[in-house]
């Protein structure tokens, strides 16, 4: 459903929740986030269709991570609404998996790789249910998909940065979610990890799951993603890579911070 159609629907007295169909994995309306009295995300609307892979692009401090965190309820929203599969965020939370930035946790924490992946099952396990062999198998299967099955019993501190990132992805896979939100999954990882992650994400897309990544590497956008969203506090463009990822939209988003030569090096479809 397009933004115009939503507007039309809401004009006619329907609530936004009913206006957005259950087939839209994630829709954000008028989302504003601020730290103190400085907005870092201002009135952003966006829709993420099923089976799409979207890169959220923007300069440092443009509010990319804050947008993701506000969608997930980790940081408070100043205004706006988040709709997941046609339902308010709170009721559809089970269908979302989040992969935080690797640097956000202490990797000297006393826990093994398998234990971290098992955290993806905590909601199913509840407070008291014991871990059964089938739970362990599910976790091992996720580890296998990111090529880390041999590391199950390692302490997490012994992993390289790329391996840590893959463990975080495995934890998200274990949840069996339909919508994946990833915060900079390719930041500072080795080539093998980058390949492993993109393979898994593309497989998810093939399976009609929806993937949204905060992404920083403009050079890989065309290869990895089919949609982009360009933000710098406000949203500057949103849509298929072929149309929304152009020299003009990049220049508008980054302003003077992106040299024209840099844009020239990107193999862009001219608008």
């Amino acid at each position: 459903m397009s933004a115009a159609a939503i507007e039309l629907a809401t004009d006619h007295g329907e609530t936004v929740e009913t206006a957005i169909g259950a087939d839209v994995p994630l829709a954000v309306q008028g989302l504003t986030v601020s730290y103190g009295d400085k907005p870092v995300v201002f009135s952003v609307d966006a829709t993420f269709p099923a089976g799409s892979m979207t890169a959220i692009i923007g300069p440092n401090g443009a509010g990319k991570s804050s947008l993701l965190k506000a969608v997930l309820g980790i940081v408070p929203k100043l205004s706006g609404s988040v709709t997941v599969f046609g339902k308010p965020f709170e009721t559809a939370r089970r269908r979302i998996a989040y992969v935080p930035q690797r640097a956000s946790v202490d990797w000297d924490f006393p826990t093994r790789v398998i234990d971290v992946v098992m955290m993806g099952l905590y909601r199913d396990l509840g407070l008291l249910r014991l871990v059964r062999p089938r739970h362990r198998e599910r976790a091992l299967d996720s580890l296998d998909r990111v090529g880390m099955a041999d590391f199950a019993d390692r302490q997490i501190g012994q992993l390289s940065g790329g391996q840590q990132q893959r463990v975080f992805l495995a934890r998200a896979l274990t949840q069996g979610a339909d919508l994946f939100l990833l915060d900079e999954p390719f930041a500072g990882v080795d080539a093998a990890t980058e390949k492993a992650i993109i393979t898994v994400l593309k497989a998810l897309k093939e399976d009609n799951r929806t993937v949204v990544c905060v992404h920083h590497d403009l050079a890989t956008v065309t290869d990895y993603f089919d949609r982009v969203m360009l933000i710098n506090v406000r949203k500057f463009a949103e849509g298929p890579v072929a149309s929304a990822f152009s020299a003009e939209t990049l220049q508008a988003t980054y302003g003077g911070r992106l040299a024209a030569t840099h844009i020239d090096q990107l193999d862009l479809v001219s608008a």
Binding site: L72, F109, T111, Y122, L125, L127, L128, D190, A191
Partner: protein, 405 residues
């Protein structure tokens, strides 16, 4: 003395000593297990603020109960008062850290000193009251020396049972929040509520430990066992368990020691026993311990020198480094006059071949998973299969002659 300690350990030193021993053991176990989550959440010092914030509550509870005509020393009343003021202190720390630009350490410092100061003023006022002379409230600062009543042991047993139950119930959410609060929040956990539950655990331990260990030293029982336990294991559930055991044993042994030497206060002895366990863990734990780290480093250093020495032999270069010479001598690879033995020449040739194989492998395999493993020490057999190595050897050509062979 030794016989006395043994008697106390075997609960043979009389009713009161047995009561203190069991009570201290239970308290230590509850404190160790509860404190683990605080330690993993990196908020250990909040417990210090909570503990010091109990004091005004104790004073106020005494005054209120005395004014109402009751016995100001009623233990349940005093503990209830301490819990209320500790909770108020906790809320103020949280509020300052969350709502103002001040950080949590500042909030802890402010709450701790102000509440404690206010508490001391109240105790002084109580001293001047007609009924306050024998109140004995100072005992709550460093723990009572005169032993325990059955009632005190019951309080610890009930409070300890509540703590252990909560730890078992909340182990998953508390672990998740301690490790990755953002992920916990994203998956629908109320991080503030779980943090609050963690703090209620600490508050409960503090309140039940007031009579035995005192508010100044209870922090040690919450922090030292988990820190010591961390040296022994890499798994959260085992850290919790080990911290409970270390706390429990320290409490029990400390109580026995103080029972055998009358006049020595129980609380400080328990803390010292705890500290002894910590020092032993710090030094001797495998893996994370200081000695293990030193040994690991030395072994690594020897491997490096051995490799360097063998490569020097292979290239026919002289060796000057005394450690390299010592390492090769001990392995019987060189003679006293620094000439290579047969074993030394064989090993040198093998090392040189390994280097050559690596050199080719790093050109052939661009994949970082293989070429990234080169560190000058890892033998190529650990990374490539036999067939792959045979393929490398074909590229190298015939066996190279080693100087001096």
């Amino acid at each position: 003395m030794l016989a006395g300690v043994l008697d106390a350990l075997l609960l043979q030193s009389g009713y009161n000593a047995a009561l203190v021993g069991i009570g201290a053991g239970l308290l230590g176990a509850a404190a160790g297990a509860s404190g683990t989550f605080l330690f993993l959440r990196k908020r250990a010092l909040v417990s210090d603020a909570v503990a010091h914030a109990t004091l005004p509550g104790i004073g106020l509870a005494f005054i209120v109960m005395a004014l109402l005509g009751g016995d100001g020393r009623n233990l349940i009343g005093l503990l209830a008062g301490s819990a209320i003021s500790a909770f108020a202190g906790l809320l103020i720390v949280e509020w300052i850290a969350r709502r103002t630009r001040l950080s949590e350490d500042v909030a802890i410092g402010a709450v701790l000193s102000v509440f404690f100061g206010f508490g001391i003023v109240l105790l002084t006022v109580i001293q001047t009251m007609s009924r306050g002379k024998q109140a004995g409230l100072e005992g709550f600062l460093l723990g009572a020396t005169a032993g325990m009543l059955f009632q005190d042991a019951v309080v610890i047993a009930i409070g300890g049972a509540i703590c252990v139950t909560l730890v078992i119930l909340l182990r998953r959410p508390m672990t998740l929040v301690a490790f990755d609060p953002d992920y916990a929040a994203a998956s629908g956990r109320d991080v503030r509520l779980i943090d609050l539950a963690m703090m209620m655990l600490v508050l409960t331990v503090t309140v039940i430990g007031l009579k035995l260990v005192g508010l100044i030293l209870i922090v040690a029982l919450l922090i030292i066992p988990p820190v010591a336990a961390r040296f022994w294991t890499e798994r959260t559930d085992r850290v919790v368990l080990a911290a409970g055991v270390i706390g429990g044993v320290s409490g029990y042994v400390g109580a026995a020691l103080s029972a055998a030497a009358p006049g020595i206060p129980t609380g400080p002895i328990i803390v010292l026993v705890c500290f002894a366990v910590f020092v032993a863990s710090l030094l001797f734990a495998p893996g994370r311990g200081v000695l293990a780290a030193i040994i690991r480093h030395q072994r690594f250093q020897i491997r490096v020198h051995r490799r360097q020495g063998l490569l020097a032999l292979a290239h026919g270069e002289p060796i000057y480094d005394p450690l390299t010479i010592a390492v090769l001598r001990r392995a019987r690879m060189i003679r006293k006059d620094r000439v290579a033995t047969d074993l030394g020449r064989a090993q040198a040739a093998k090392t040189l071949r390994d280097e050559k194989r690596w050199e080719i492998a790093r050109q052939v395999y661009t994949d970082e998973a293989i070429s990234g493993r080169y560190d000058g020490l890892t033998p190529i057999e650990a990374v490539l299969t036999r067939d792959e190595i045979a393929d490398l050897d074909r590229r190298i050509g015939g066996p190279a002659m080693v100087a001096g062979a």
